[in-house]
């Protein structure tokens, strides 16, 4: 969107139409006529009516609706469904409706005349309620009622001049013509602001678009903006913002699945990240998303689910089967479903609706289930998804996109296109082996955090989604029954090893006991030998001593004999 650069800004009259006042930086030029043109059924009359009703109810500016086509009661009936009470406003003196019947056959012309009657009537109506706003819908009808176009043109020029002189903010509607904006070239007279409404059909899908063709003296968004007409009235959505100026969100949100949180180093996903959950049908994408939604709601955060394949009640029922009570969250106002068939609207309209819903409901978490349901030409789809992600990112909303992998390859082209825009990618896969399917899950990427590289098996039961460790060993990754069998085998082997160890321990103990016994015997015979040695040594000593005594006695005896 361009910036508002003109310093002294043109005074503007807000239309109160969501989005339109943003892209025109304030609304229509105040005190001047603006032209709204478009083919039949584009919403010109509704645009004009909304402008008047909002003026009367929200901006304190009464208005005059001069209808050249529909009668007052038809007008009132047409917009009653939008909650506009035209009759009430008329009664309150905030709105005047003047139906100007123009029927060609009734009027003959002879000589000079002018449309003073129209001026008088408009002036009368304006003065009667002190109107600040005027709608002329569709003034071109006059060309059918009068035969002199030159005179009509002069009168229209005078009329628009008169509107300016009176300082009335006016909408003049005009039917789209061949080669020019309106059939009678009204754009020549209304030079201040021209808005073109368009209703295009591509592939049997209609998309309404609005473009500000010209806005003298004011900056304005120049693109074609999709707009919606539904039970909430008109909303225009400038969704082509191209800036990557959103703040990097901080803070973590838990997925509500303990095992999954544990696979992410910080213990959850970053708030405001876009999470892609891919997997074939029946892999549990929706339920994974439902788990995260339920966790968010339990934290008191608001969640919005855009369901393209299931209705809200169906999702609630399915989630109940894994123990998630989404219905209570819907009742508490924290959760809302927006279910619509993807083919119901064009991409732009889907985006526009989403935009409006995001701004109205202000969710913290949204789920788009599945994003692959949105169909369109590849280039358009990519662009639309980009804008969708932008839309979500700029609001700091955490988003879960589910997608179906269409082929069997690891990464198909579609996914690749989307996945690069995503902050995190969880892949769900059903592994088939040994006649059974096992649900597995792994985190392909998670920007800004380290995460487990393991393939994890998960179970969906009435207790919710629970992750269990997959068997990873020499035989590869085993899941399901194969994992159970392998684990049993390992348990048996471990038991076997335990028995074996105990047996060997017993052997050793026995051998040691035997050795101890032998050791005791040897020690006993050693003792015996020591005793004997001591005895022998004692004998020797006593014999030596006795010999000495004998020798001394002999010596003594010999001395005596001498």
């Amino acid at each position: 969107m361009p910036d508002q650069r003109t310093a002294p800004t043109l005074p503007k009259a807000p239309t109160g139409i969501e989005g339109f006042d943003d892209l025109t930086f304030g609304g229509l030029p105040a005190g001047r006529p603006s032209l709204i043109c478009g083919a039949a059924g584009c919403g010109k009359t509704l645009f004009a009516t909304t402008f008047l009703v909002n003026g009367a109810t929200r901006f304190g500016e009464p208005g005059v609706f001069m209808s050249f086509e529909e009668r007052a009661e038809d007008l009132a009936a047409n917009v009653a469904s939008l909650g506009f009470d035209l009759d009430g406003l008329v009664a309150a003196g905030k709105l005047a409706i003047d139906h100007v019947r123009v029927e060609r056959s009734e009027i003959e012309e002879t000589g000079e005349y002018d449309l003073e009657g129209l001026f008088i009537r408009l002036g009368f109506a304006v003065d009667s309620i002190g109107a600040k706003r005027v709608v002329l819908d569709t003034i071109e009808t006059l060309f059918a009622g009068f035969t002199d176009p030159a005179l009509l043109r002069a009168e229209l020029r005078r009329l628009f001049g008169w509107i300016k002189d009176r300082g009335l903010t006016a909408i003049i509607t005009g039917e789209r013509g061949e080669g020019q904006l309106t059939r009678q070239g009204l754009e020549e007279y209304v030079s201040d602001c021209v808005i073109l409404l368009d209703n295009r059909v591509d592939d049997q899908i209609t998309t309404r678009r609005l473009r500000v063709v010209k806005y003298r003296g004011s900056a304005h968004g120049t693109n074609e903006y999709p707009f919606l007409i539904d039970h909430a009235g008109i909303s225009v959505l400038p969704v082509t913002s191209a800036e990557l100026d959103y703040v990097g969100p901080t803070g973590l949100i838990s997925t509500g699945i303990a095992g999954l949180d544990a696979m992410l180093a910080p213990g959850g996903f970053y708030r405001g990240s876009s999470i892609l959950v891919s997997g074939a049908s029946g892999t549990g994408k929706s339920m994974l998303a439902a788990s995260m939604v339920e966790a968010a709601c339990r934290r008191g955060e608001r969640s919005l689910i855009f369901a393209f394949e299931e209705s809200g009640p169906q999702i609630i029922r399915n989630a109940a089967s894994i123990g998630l009570d989404l219905e209570a969250q819907v009742k508490s106002g924290l959760l809302r479903f927006e279910a619509a068939r993807p083919s119901l609207y064009g991409l732009e309209t889907h985006l526009a609706r989403m935009h409006r819903d995001l701004d109205q409901f202000r969710p913290d978490l949204i789920v788009i289930d599945p994003i692959s349901a949105l169909r369109g030409p590849a280039s358009e789809l990519q662009g639309a998804l980009l804008r969708m992600i932008d839309l979500i990112k700029t609001r700091g909303i955490t988003a879960i996109f589910t997608t179906l992998r269409s082929d069997g390859s690891l990464i198909s082209d579609d996914d690749l296109g989307v996945s690069s825009l995503m902050d995190a990618w969880i892949k769900l896969q059903n592994m088939e082996a040994n006649g059974e399917r096992t649900r597995t899950l792994y985190v392909i990427k998670a920007r800004g955090m380290s995460h487990s590289n393991q393939i994890r098996e998960f179970l969906m039961s009435s207790g919710g989604i629970r992750l269990i460790d997959a068997y990873i060993g020499t035989a590869g990754v085993l899941t399901g029954t194969a994992r159970v069998v392998q684990e049993a085998r390992e348990r048996a082997e471990a038991q076997q090893r335990l028995y074996e160890n105990e047996r060997r321990l017993r052997d050793v103990v026995r051998r040691r006991a035997a050795l101890d016994r032998q050791l005791a015997e040897i020690r006993a015979s050693l003792d015996a030998a020591e005793d004997e040695e001591a005895r022998l040594r004692a004998d020797d000593e006593s014999r030596v001593a006795a010999d000495e005594v004998e020798r001394r006695e002999l010596i003594a005896r010999r001395r005596a004999a001498e």
Binding site: R101, T110, G111, Y113, D114, E116, R121
Partner: protein, 106 residues
């Protein structure tokens, strides 16, 4: 139309309402032209009401008046309208489906 009920009972009685915008020359010309035509061709059996849309905008709104001057033939039915300054008497007669009073006069 108010007041037209009793008059519509008389089949040959004409009832006109002429809307003009103020006292512009064009308005005066139109008033004069209508008077002349009526006096010439419908003397004594017509009723002409002249409304200035500036003075009575509500009447203009009621009758759905856009152009001025404009002459409405209210009776006899069908209602007809002629816009313009009404200088061409013959077109007025044709437009209002009135038989000229006396061919010899003209």
């Amino acid at each position: 139309m108010s007041g037209s009920a009793e008059l519509s009972d008389l089949p040959d009685r004409y009832r006109f309402r002429l809307f003009v915008a103020g006292t512009a020359p064009r308005s005066l010309r139109a008033v004069e032209a209508v008077r002349r035509v009526c006096e010439t061709h419908l003397a004594g059996r017509y009723e002409l009401e002249i409304v200035d849309i500036y003075q009575q905008p509500d009447l203009a709104e009621r009758d759905g008046i856009l152009a001025a001057p404009i002459l409405l033939k209210l009776a006899p039915h069908p209602e007809r309208r002629i816009a313009g300054d009404l200088l061409d008497a013959e077109r007025i007669l044709r437009g209002l489906n009135i038989q000229p009073a006396d061919e010899t006069q003209r």
